[in-house]
Symmetry: C2
Subunit: 411 residues, 2 copies
DNA sequence: CAAACTTTGTTCGACTACCGAACAAAGTGC
DNA sequence: GCACTTTGTTCGGTAGTCGAACAAAGTTTG
């Protein structure tokens, strides 16, 4: 039997099987997608009789089904078991600072329906909650029978949160929300559990399961948007720090004599690479770049990105500068955390090599050989849907870890 | 029954008991020091009959003994079981850049014998290995019967290491050692297993078990000596990164336009706060401080530290400047990692408040309120013996996790 | 002080999860 | 055609854990 990793995400811990066998069995079948009882018994290191017993329980839950015979390996042909990816559906909500997006996915992270809409999330909690419900229902309406199959709802919020308590919200970042998410209403409305986490953390989760972080235990995901936040993946789990505030890389100073930042520090990364900083630098550069695509319009980060993709010299110059500053911060990150990869997400990541090449150059000049050798700096593989997919994955991961969340495994 | 934490270190995971009960039982008795069968059954959440059975096995190993009756709580008085701290001894070796120190400890981290000696460790591998053996034997000779009771040997090395393979050593930091530790000879010489880890990591371990990091799951230990390194404690475990290079905080840049560093970067923390930087700053300041204790002698970091403790103005000025620079780096660390504490070790930590007060001032000015609120910056509680104690603790932790290391539990 | 109640620790029968051996079914290879 | 493999099931055995019952040694109440 081959033990090479199949596609996709976190392999169940093969070594010390700490958890109950039924859970490990379900997780392993999900992970391998198709597997025989014999292979399962070898992977879990239990006897074939035990594997058989476990499987017969799982068949009863309808999460696993027999799907015909596999190829013989010199003896009787194995009966293939397959995880039923469509047995349940999950709603993943990306609540950004200025927009809301919703993905309806199956149990393999595939997006079956998608909705997004601009909205002043920061200032309008009630309207945001209504919008979330509306977009969710629109997604559910796209897929017949979706409401009945719904397993749970995951929400990515642009603020530090205690992921164990989806009711509360940090009041310092979203003051209008008064410290309450109000997502209990989602729970009652859709009749399923609601999970919540920080957006950068969920970006990291999504990349780990389906994107550029597959197979990497320790990496850092950096979301480059209006603000800058990081999701730290440590040992395959999100690292949250002592008070859920880990990952605030935007307020790491890269120049102690730099401009003052709202946070009280000077020369924060966000004052060089944040949305407002990019707009400011573009404006400053307009005088020296008369023919630029950026002249004569209201400059936004979206416009700068588009102009850079169209190879506008001024926009590219702004991006290049930002990349160099980002490089200084990432060099420090590499020295301190020695991650297996750095994955860039957020809107700025769309620029690909225009961002990566100057960034890598700065990093190479500024790190110890040993630490950067194994480190790779990449852009997100999931693009703008990554955060919503991560929110959905949050529910999936919880369910695979604690299968009692599946209605058919509760009895 | 009270569930408040007794003194000391990592409590065994009470929740999901992932590991075999005999191991958890031993660990719990070690942790509580004295406990009855009834209390043990409640802590482990097993029946009293099972607890009784587990205990009778442990009594046979001599690691646990009955030590009379405890106070009644309204019924029959409990028989107290006590972990036998002196059942085995451990050697902890602190291999610094310029010295070797050895601690002989019991199973509670208490130092029973101590030796140290200056030595050019970097350039003389063979002499260092001989010196380690000599100091270890001297320690063993101090305690009657120590050799027979020896459980294992832990070594702290001043370089990144793969702690799972004590034979290899990073050749980039200690070139004369040619990538080999040669510690297999220690294994055969003393007839016990040898464990190895990086010195900053072991400083963190020691503080977590016995010092300023007790009860804190996530903290950062910073060793301030000739070089500057950090041990990152994440979820109660040392975080090593993808290639065992995590914690290189000395080469995090705090000023991108600063002096070039040997690592290729500019303005590394070590160029402001490292041993050579302190000496350089002291020399530069001599002209403006005619009566200083530092004039007229060969300046070393040790002398600067002593002068600062004696309140010499120039030395204090050098320390204050270093503290401010360190503060910039720590502010970044707090924003990025949000640790529950930052613990300063190494020789510079002896200065206590002279270092801490200016440091805290800089940090307060440079961090988000939320992240620093729960974070505390402290100095090591273990002092110069911390690293050796950490090396000993490495062995202790391994044995409590995998009790088959105890000879009496092997059969 | 006796009676009632608590707590501790042990004993013992029962249950559960898992294993290994044996076996039938269904393949491959010479 | 025959020997050998692999798969999946059946079934009796075993180790680990539990619960009930009990004796021993306390405390509290009247």
């Amino acid at each position: 039997m081959e033990l090479t990793s199949p596609p996709h995400p976190p392999a169940p811990a093969h070594e010390a099987r700490g958890r109950p066998l039924p859970e490990l069995a379900l997780e392993t079948i999900w992970y391998r997608r198709r597997i025989s009882r014999a292979d399962l018994s070898r992977l879990l290191e239990v006897s074939r009789s035990t594997a058989s017993e476990l499987v017969s329980d799982l068949l009863a839950t309808k999460l696993v089904a027999e799907v015909g015979d596999g190829p013989s390996r010199g003896g009787r042909r194995p009966i293939l078991l397959e995880f039923q990816d469509e047995a349940h559906l999950i709603l993943g909500v990306d609540m950004g600072a200025t927009h809301v997006a919703v993905a309806l996915t199956n149990l393999r992270g595939r997006v079956l329906a998608w909705r997004e809409e601009a909205h002043p999330v920061r200032s309008d909690p009630d309207g945001t909650r209504e919008l979330i419900v509306r977009l969710c229902e629109a997604c559910l309406a796209d897929v017949p029978g979706a409401s009945e199959a719904l397993l749970g709802l995951g929400v990515a919020v642009p603020a530090p949160v205690d992921h164990r308590d989806p009711k509360r919200l940090s009041p310092t970042v979203l003051p209008a929300w008064e410290g309450r998410s109000g997502f209990e209403s989602l729970e009652t409305h859709f009749g399923v559990p609601v999970f919540m986490d920080n957006d950068a953390n969920l970006g990291a989760v999504a990349e780990r399961w389906w994107g550029a972080g597959r197979g990497i235990e320790d990496f850092t995901y950096i979301k480059l948007a209006t603000g800058i936040g990081a999701g730290l993946m440590v040992g395959g789990e999100v690292y949250r720090g002592a008070t859920n505030a880990a990952g605030e890389i935007g307020h790491v100073s890269i120049d102690p004599k730099g401009l003052p930042c709202v946070c009280g520090n000077r020369g924060c990364l966000v004052t060089f690479v944040g949305g407002e900083a990019l707009v400011r630098r573009a404006r400053e550069g307009l005088a020296g770049a008369p023919g630029s695509m950026l002249s004569g319009c209201e400059i936004t980060t979206g416009i700068i990105e588009r102009a850079a993709l169209a190879r506008d010299p001024l926009a590219m110059q702004v991006v290049r500068e930002a990349a160099h500053h980002l490089g200084v911060a990432i060099a420090g990150l590499l020295n301190l955390l020695n991650p297996g990869a750095v994955i860039l997400g957020g809107s700025l990541a769309r620029l690909g090599d225009d961002l990566l090449l100057p960034l890598r150059e700065t990093v190479l000049r500024r790190t110890l050989v040993s630490s950067v050798a194994a480190s790779e700096i990449r852009v997100s593989e999931l693009g703008p849907r990554g955060i919503a997919i991560g929110a959905s994955t949050l529910v999936l991961a919880s369910a695979l870890e604690r299968p009692s969340l599946f209605p058919t495994m509760r009895d």
